[in-house]
Amino acid sequence: MTLLRCYKTIGVFGDSTCSKLPGLVHCRNCPEYARAGRQLFDRPLAQAELEQWAELFSREKEVEPADMFSVVIFRVGSEWFALKTAFFQEVTDLRPVHTVPYRSGAVFKGIANINGELLLCIDPAPVLTPGAGPAECRRMMVTAKDNSRFVLMVEEIMGVHRIPAGAVSPAPATVAKSPSALTTGIFSIDTRTVGLLDEADLFATLSGSISP
């Protein structure tokens, strides 16, 4: 069987003389490229794998409980927080933040350009972990509720997790033990304790931090 190798001869990895290249920009957008890659799957299948798969599919399919909801878990300072995935639009790398004179402060940092849109940029650390030192933010999360959109600067994002509603226990009664006044409950994941944020309270607080 002859292998397809056009991307190496006339494509981007060759002399770039392919007539289709100007329209496609890169070979990976070309069906020929995909076809070349799929030659990999023409390899014979090991018997052991067949057995494995058979074993896997013979089992009952895992069905999620009905009352699960999805959250994005992220870290601010030393605390982990979760917000429902529904209120997330996008997650990006850290972008430059332009300060707004007389407005920028500890919470409201300024305006950031996210994919061509100018959005209000918020450092949630003073709100979520009052008294902790300045956070070393590496990610930006675009959140939206109703008509208000905010970019939250966080240090780490664990990812999207589906949480059974029963796993969430109420937040401790005393404020001191609570990660934040904005948490409605806490749950554990991978031995970490995560505070589930109340979206209504959070967005109200953020709006309040921007209003003069």
Binding site: L40, F41, P44, L45, W53, A54, F57, S58, K61
Partner: protein
């Protein structure tokens, strides 16, 4: 509509995604004794026994090569009695899907009575593919045999 594309010999074929339950890798199959030669075997799919038809064997007469791209498409099949079953279809190069509109199909112009499951043709870029009508795949005798066997196995 979406078609799940596969290959038999050197020809491409498509299957209506609406009928597909799931695509699974090739698994070790149990021998279906007494079944026609194009029956690849029986598959324990999440507790229920599913018969698997080797489409390559059905169309070309030679069994499908055991490759990484050789997969089983699980489809819903309504038998003559109107009962719904899950049927496995074995083919190679089950690697892509094609989105198209029902109007894009063209009749090949050649009727093939011995292969009623062969549907219309679709031109997909510089390639062509032929639609397979799942419902026409199995003659009633085979249906009985297979689903009865499945019933026995389960």
């Amino acid at each position: 509509m979406l078609l799940v594309v596969f290959q038999i010999a050197h020809d491409r074929f498509g299957l209506d995604a609406a009928q597909v339950v799931e695509v699974v890798p090739l698994v070790a199959l149990k021998q279906a004794h007494g079944a026609p030669g194009y029956t690849a075997g029986l598959f324990n799919y999440r507790g229920s026994v599913v018969p698997v038809i080797d489409l390559t064997a059905l169309i070309t007469g030679t069994p499908c090569p055991r490759l990484l791209s050789t997969r089983i498409m699980l489809v819903t099949y309504t038998d003559a009695a109107g009962a719904q079953h899950v049927l496995g279809l074995l083919a190679e190069r089950v690697l892509e899907t094609v989105t198209c509109s029902p109007q894009d199909f063209q009749s090949p112009g050649i009727a093939s009575p011995e292969a009623p499951y062969m549907g219309d043709m679709l031109v997909d870029g510089d390639q062509m593919l032929r639609r397979i009508t799942v419902q026409e795949l199995l003659p009633p005798s085979v249906q009985e045999l297979l689903f009865a066997a499945c019933g026995e196995a389960s």
